[in-house]
């Protein structure tokens, strides 16, 4: 299971990088989203995957011998929330960019320098 997920993480990173290098801002944002999901999955795999073994301690004794570490899942939860907010901001930014410049092609960006 870990190996399968590791491959998925790698694919997501590859797709993310590919999309980041495109000219369209929509694809740029999709790339950022892929990147952040790849990172979240990476942290998830790092915690170790053990089927059907919830961590539960009663009186200081672990219920199972080899539990999954719950902390990475808490980290991912935080990262997902942050990523969600950032994506929302980025989408709003893209919309505003489109309204102002009339394009969503990054190569059409002119510097707009004036004296």
């Amino acid at each position: 299971m870990e190996i399968l997920l590791a491959i998925v993480v790698g694919l997501l990173y590859a797709a993310g990088v590919y999309l980041l290098l495109r000219r369209s801002i929509v694809k740029l944002i999709l790339g950022i989203m892929f990147f952040s999901h790849a990172t979240n999955l990476l942290i998830f795999v790092v915690g170790g995957l053990h089927k059907g073994q919830p961590q539960y301690t009663a009186n200081g004794i672990a219920a199972v011998a080899n539990p999954t570490d719950p902390l990475p899942q808490a980290l991912i939860l935080t990262a997902i929330v942050i990523g969600f907010g950032i994506t929302a901001f980025f989408l709003a930014l893209m919309y505003r960019f489109y309204q102002t410049t009339g394009t969503e092609d990054l190569d059409d960006m002119t510097e707009g320098e004036n004296l």
Binding site: I43, L75, I86, F90
Partner: protein
């Protein structure tokens, strides 16, 4: 004792008050300013406390160290907190007249305090995931500030700024994940302890490289700096000054913290790398600045160049080298912010940032010339200003450590910095005023007092740092000694029993 948490809480409370009083626009600047003043006072109190009683630790929620989030203030953090307080006060005051009403009515002051909260949080946290969260707080506030107003070129710059900083954050997060997978802890002191006992720590270089790339992007170090000159000149100058003073330095701070506290095992790889990167950063930054004619762009490239000096101090890795980096950072935060603020004054008088379009300021505004010359010649390293001593300490440390090449590069870069500063001086102040008459002329209008006071205040600090090198350097030395030998940090966080396993 709640004192270590206050640098986070005070900006938060200020932010809440700013939002409560949002209907009364006139009150906004004053609430913001008093919050910033409170924060500076508090930072100074914390600095004195740290100086007298050593490292301060707060276990949040009373969860003891490796489990809960720990807030740690050592000498380095204390210095950075004071600097962030100084910049907060200056920017809050400067913005009153420098930022237009429309931007102010779109949550400008709350966002400045949100940014300060993120910066302070990054300086005092003792937990790497928490550091990531503070980075995001800081970034989100900076995203809003850089796009505030929604001008076309601002949006252009913002897209690059947002993308690159997000990628850096995600690298940082991936590094945290991998490091946690190997070490099973997120507490910095615990990591330092475990890594110092670990035999196979070379395997950690995957995370170490991810952290290096992440912080390099944040700090705008040599191969990763392109987002900075593409975006920093676009927002109003008060926002640029705030970013120039604090944001890249948070990257440098994290790098120094990580590579002195726990990634110290593989020093034969990292320290020469830091010296190379530092050298390239200095040279590339200063050379690209030489070809620019927009004042803000020249200054943006100089931010990059001067980050190189701090990385060089880290690469030298002696107490004197790190102390030099800390001293230089203190000097640079103050002087760099000040140069941008002066650029704002120049723009106020002439209506332009472009050197071709302005001139004759020495004749029409002699006082402005004095305000300009203190921070810029400070940056160039003319004695007796603070930059001279910052460079002197670093270069002496470099020679003492036997790193001759980087020391000579640092000396040469100082000359080129002087070249750029003299160029601004010649074009803006000495050259007669261009006669094409296209450019708006502020003429004989008085500059607003609220814009001049912060500039004078920061200029005075640059002068004072030049004349009072000894006490500041002593404090930086103590901070650097704490960084080089992290046992005090570890025992302050984890308790003394852990050090002798």
């Amino acid at each position: 004792m709640i004192l270590p948490a206050l640098p986070i809480l005070i900006p938060l409370i200020t932010l809440i008050f700013l939002l409560i009083g949002f209907k009364k626009q006139q009150s906004q600047p004053w609430i913001g300013l008093s919050g910033a003043l409170l924060q500076l006072t508090l930072a100074i109190i914390i600095g004195i406390q740290v100086n007298n009683h050593g490292i301060m630790v707060l276990h949040t929620g009373n969860w003891q160290a490796p489990v809960g989030i720990t807030l740690v203030i050592d000498g380095f953090s204390a210095i950075m907190l004071v600097l962030s307080g100084i910049i907060g006060v200056s920017i809050s005051l400067y913005s009153i007249d420098a930022v237009d009403r429309k931007r102010q009515s779109y949550f400008y002051f709350p966002m400045v305090h949100g940014l300060l909260m993120g910066v302070n949080g990054a300086f005092i946290t003792g937990d790497i995931f928490n550091l990531y969260v503070w980075f995001e707080v800081m970034l989100t506030a900076s995203f809003v500030l850089i796009t505030l107003g929604g001008e076309k070129k601002q949006l252009n710059g913002a897209i690059k700024y947002v993308t690159l900083n997000l990628v850096a954050s995600l690298f940082f997060l991936a590094g945290i994940g991998l490091l946690y997978g190997k070490m099973g802890t997120l507490n910095m002191a615990d990591l330092a302890l475990k890594l110092s006992m670990d035999e196979q720590n070379i395997l950690l270089n995957t995370s170490a490289v991810l952290f290096f790339v992440a912080f390099s992007i944040k700090a705008a170090v040599f191969p990763f700096f392109f987002w900075l000159p593409a975006s920093y000149h676009t927002p109003p100058v008060a926002i640029t000054a705030l970013f120039a003073g604090l944001l890249t330095k948070v990257g440098v701070y994290s790098m120094i913290r990580f590579y002195t506290l726990f990634f110290v095992q593989d020093k034969f790889f990292w320290h020469p790398l830091f010296l190379w990167i530092g050298g390239f950063t200095m040279v590339v930054g200063v050379l690209t600045a030489a070809s620019q004619f927009d004042i803000r762009k020249i200054l943006s490239f100089h931010i990059i160049s001067q980050i190189g000096y701090m990385i060089m101090g880290l690469g030298i890795f002696t107490v004197a080298g790190i102390a030099g980096a800390i001293f230089f950072m203190a000097h640079n935060i103050i002087a760099k912010t000040n140069t941008f603020l002066v650029a704002g004054l120049i723009n106020r008088v002439t209506g332009s940032y472009h050197l071709k379009a302005i001139g004759g300021l020495y004749k029409s505004r002699p006082w402005l010339a004095i305000l300009f010359i203190i921070p810029t010649f400070g940056l160039a390293g003319i004695p007796p200003l603070s930059g001279f001593f910052g460079k002197l300490i670093l270069i002496t440390a470099g020679f003492n450590a036997g790193e001759y090449v980087i020391s000579f590069i640092a000396l040469a870069v100082g000359l080129f910095t002087l070249f750029s500063m003299v160029k601004i001086w010649n074009e803006a102040f000495w050259k007669p005023k261009p006669v094409d008459g296209k450019v708006f002329d502020g003429g004989k209008d008085k500059l607003p007092v609220s814009m001049v006071i912060p500039v004078a205040f920061l200029g005075l600090l640059t002068l004072t740092m030049g004349f009072a090198v000894k006490p500041i350097l002593d404090f930086a030395m103590v901070a650097a000694a704490q960084l080089i030998d992290p046992s005090a940090y570890i025992s302050a966080v984890l308790g003394t029993g852990h050090l002798n396993p």
